[in-house]
């Protein structure tokens, strides 16, 4: 798969890198409350957003294609 390089995407990459750096800096500098184990992982939300999205796609597509999707007139007969 090729990596997209349009002008909007360049902006996107810049924002992406800034968000990670800001997150890591914030984790190092600020003393924030730790509620869960993952609060100690730097840039946890980035990882969570990325993986969580894949998990959701996987679960919904699997459920849909193997169990739930039917032709549109399914209830009509």
């Amino acid at each position: 798969m090729e990596i997209p390089t349009g002008p909007y995407f360049k902006l996107y990459y810049v924002i992406l890198i800034i968000s990670v750096i800001a997150g890591v800096l914030h984790d190092v500098m600020a003393h924030h409350e730790v509620h869960f184990v993952w609060d100690k992982i730097p840039a946890f939300h980035a990882v969570f957003g990325f993986l969580g999205c894949f998990v959701l796609i996987f679960v919904s597509k699997t459920l849909g294609h193997y169990l739930l999707m039917r032709r549109e007139d399914y209830y009509d007969d």
């Binding site: 924002i15 992406l16 997150g23 980035a46 969580g52 999205c53 998990v55 739930l68 032709r71």
Partner: protein, 573 residues
């Protein structure tokens, strides 16, 4: 006698009935816009207290309980009604306006009800009034979906009524207070909760929502997003705060809605599943709302604030998709695409709603959703936290990425669809709603000040802003990789209503076949039963005229008589 309180719901309900009698169109429109404004002024002048206490047999009905919890919901109902009336201003059908305003008024009535009996009456009016917003679409699909919709609500209503009667029998009171301390001590509490969560669309009792809302009229669907589920959130927050099962149901619901939304092909059905998902945050917040804990107070505040913000951005999203449906006549992804050139304003206004529901910083979802999620962190509930935060990813994915790409981008506009110009009032309604979403997102203090408990929560910390930004920025990557897989497929997705619809049909077919067989058998002998059956069915058919307005008039009459009696009682005191 001074009138110390006027019921804002009854302003809308009785006020709506004058709409068909105004002949001049401009005057009619002005009046329609003015109705919720009058109700808002009424609300602004209100003091906390208990009003319109009516003695009914040996019980005391309370039509106006005004306190910190009910007033927040009342405010947002009325503000939303103003935005929605602007959006619906161009409609020619007066009776649709009437049912919309009766629906909104009944929502207010349920929120201000201080006893279970009054609550039940308004609960039913809400179901019936909203039914016509589906039926006015006029299609066969809408007709059938409307029937299923009212069946669910009638079932829910009967369960609720059963619970109320049993509660009254065992305690001798009809007062609507918190049942949390009695939770688990009697069947009546389970029944009342069951009645409430059917209206809150908690899975597996949610399919009426995703079934009916996309079939409603363009403007009717916008009204429906606001009142039924959110009045259910209100009654849950009033009756069952801190009941643990609600926390789990809510968190599961948030993810459930998202997973089903991802598969949808109809834009408005996708949005409808996100109502299920978003109401999940509120139900979860109510479940965490343990009395006396700081986290519990924050959870109730979060649920209430989220209901407030949700009504605004969800109305905005349905308005956006409604404009698409209005100008193209289509709402399925497989029939849409490339519309940005033709309707950029609609797109940008819709995107404000999309960022709001995702919970992006500077939009109103951010200031309310983070509160509920933070409450789950304070209670140290890791699974709840993961479910709620994970649902946010899916929300952003569906509403801010999948839907816009399939409707406004993703190649050229299909040649088969024509794009009309949207009526200006629709865009004006969207503009006002979008403005409110941004204003509350940037400056949430007015909302925080009216929440049930004092707010100590600060949404705009560096930590929150960075976390939410990272979540969405990184969720974009999987979407971009998989974007062609989310084009929309021309299929339907089965849901829990399968368990009612299919076996129900089998049962009816079984009965029909049995009857036919019996009739055939009988025909050979004596002809009595077939003749009787024919008589009976003819008699029943002659009662039914099939005219919508005729049914509407009967329903209106019943509602009117009840409300007139109740309000005369209220005024006299």
């Amino acid at each position: 006698m001074t009138i110390e309180w006027i019921h804002p719901g009854l302003i809308l309900i009785f006020g709506a009935l004058l709409i068909p009698f105004i002949r001049n169109r401009k005057l009619k429109q002005a009046y329609f816009l003015l109705l919720p404004v009058i109700a808002l002024i009424d609300l602004l002048m209100m003091q906390h207290g208990s009003y319109w206490n009516v003695n009914f047999m040996e019980y005391e009905l309370v039509l106006g309980r005004v306190d910190r919890l009910s007033i927040v919901f009342a405010y947002v109902f009325v503000i939303a009604a103003i935005c929605m009336n602007i959006y619906a201003l161009h409609l020619e059908r007066d009776w649709e306006h009437v049912s919309a305003m009766m629906y909104a008024g009944a929502g207010l009535g349920a929120v201000f009800a201080g006893d279970l009996f009054t609550l039940y009456i308004f609960w039913e009016v809400m179901a019936w009034a909203s039914l016509f917003l589906i039926w006015f679409r006029g299609t066969k699909a809408a007709h059938n979906a409307g029937f299923r919709y009212i069946m669910w609500h009638l079932a829910g209503g009967v369960i609720l009524l059963g619970g109320i009667v049993m509660y009254t029998q065992s305690t001798g009171s009809i007062e609507f207070t918190s049942f949390t301390q009695f939770w688990g001590t009697g069947l009546c509490y389970y029944l009342i909760l069951l009645g409430f969560i059917i209206n809150a669309a908690v899975p597996p009792l949610h399919p009426w929502l995703a079934d009916a809302y996309p079939e409603a009229t363009v403007t009717g669907a916008v009204y429906m997003t606001a009142f039924t589920t959110k009045s259910a959130v209100y009654v849950l927050a009033r009756g069952f705060p801190g009941v643990e099962i609600l926390m789990w149901l809510g968190a599961i619901m948030a993810v459930y809605g998202v997973i089903f939304a991802m598969l949808q092909n109809d834009g408005r059905r996708l949005l409808a599943y996100h109502i299920v998902s978003q109401v999940g945050y509120m139900v979860c917040g109510v479940g965490m709302g343990i009395f006396g804990l700081a986290a519990g107070e924050m959870a109730i505040n979060g649920a209430t604030a989220h209901a407030f913000c949700h009504i605004l951005y969800k109305a905005l999203l349905f308005m956006g998709m409604g404009v698409v449906l209005e100008v193209t006549g289509k709402s399925k992804f497989t029939e849409l695409g490339g519309l940005y050139k033709y309707m950029p304003v609609t797109f940008w206004l819709y995107m404000i709603g999309a960022f709001s529901i995702s919970g992006f910083p500077l939009f109103n979802g951010f200031v309310s959703k983070t509160m509920t999620v933070e409450a789950s962190a304070m209670l140290h509930e890791p699974i709840i936290w993961l479910l709620l935060e994970g649902a946010s990813i899916g929300t952003f994915f569906c509403i801010a990425l999948k839907l816009p790409r399939n409707v406004w981008f993703g190649g050229e506009k299909p040649a088969s669809i024509e794009v009309k110009k949207p009526p200006k009032n629709m865009l004006a309604g969207m503009g006002l709603t979008a403005a409110l979403c941004v204003i509350l997102g940037v400056y949430p203090e007015p909302l925080y000040n009216i929440l049930p408990y004092a707010v100590e929560f600060v949404p705009y910390t560096a930590g929150h802003v960075i976390a939410m930004s990272q979540l969405f920025i990184f969720a974009f990557i999987p979407f971009w990789i998989m974007r062609e897989k989310f084009r929309g497929e021309p299929e339907i997705v089965l849901d829990t209503d399968w368990f009612v619809r299919k076996p129900g049909r089998w049962f009816i077919r079984f009965c029909e076949n049995t009857l036919i067989k019996y009739a055939e058998f009988d025909e050979k002998r004596c002809f009595i039963f077939p003749a009787l059956f024919e008589r009976l069915s003819k008699a029943i058919r002659s009662i039914q005229t099939g005219y919508l307005t005729y049914y509407l008039q009967i329903v209106l009459l019943i509602v009117m008589v009840t409300l007139v009696l109740a309000s005369i009682g209220g005024m006299l005191l």
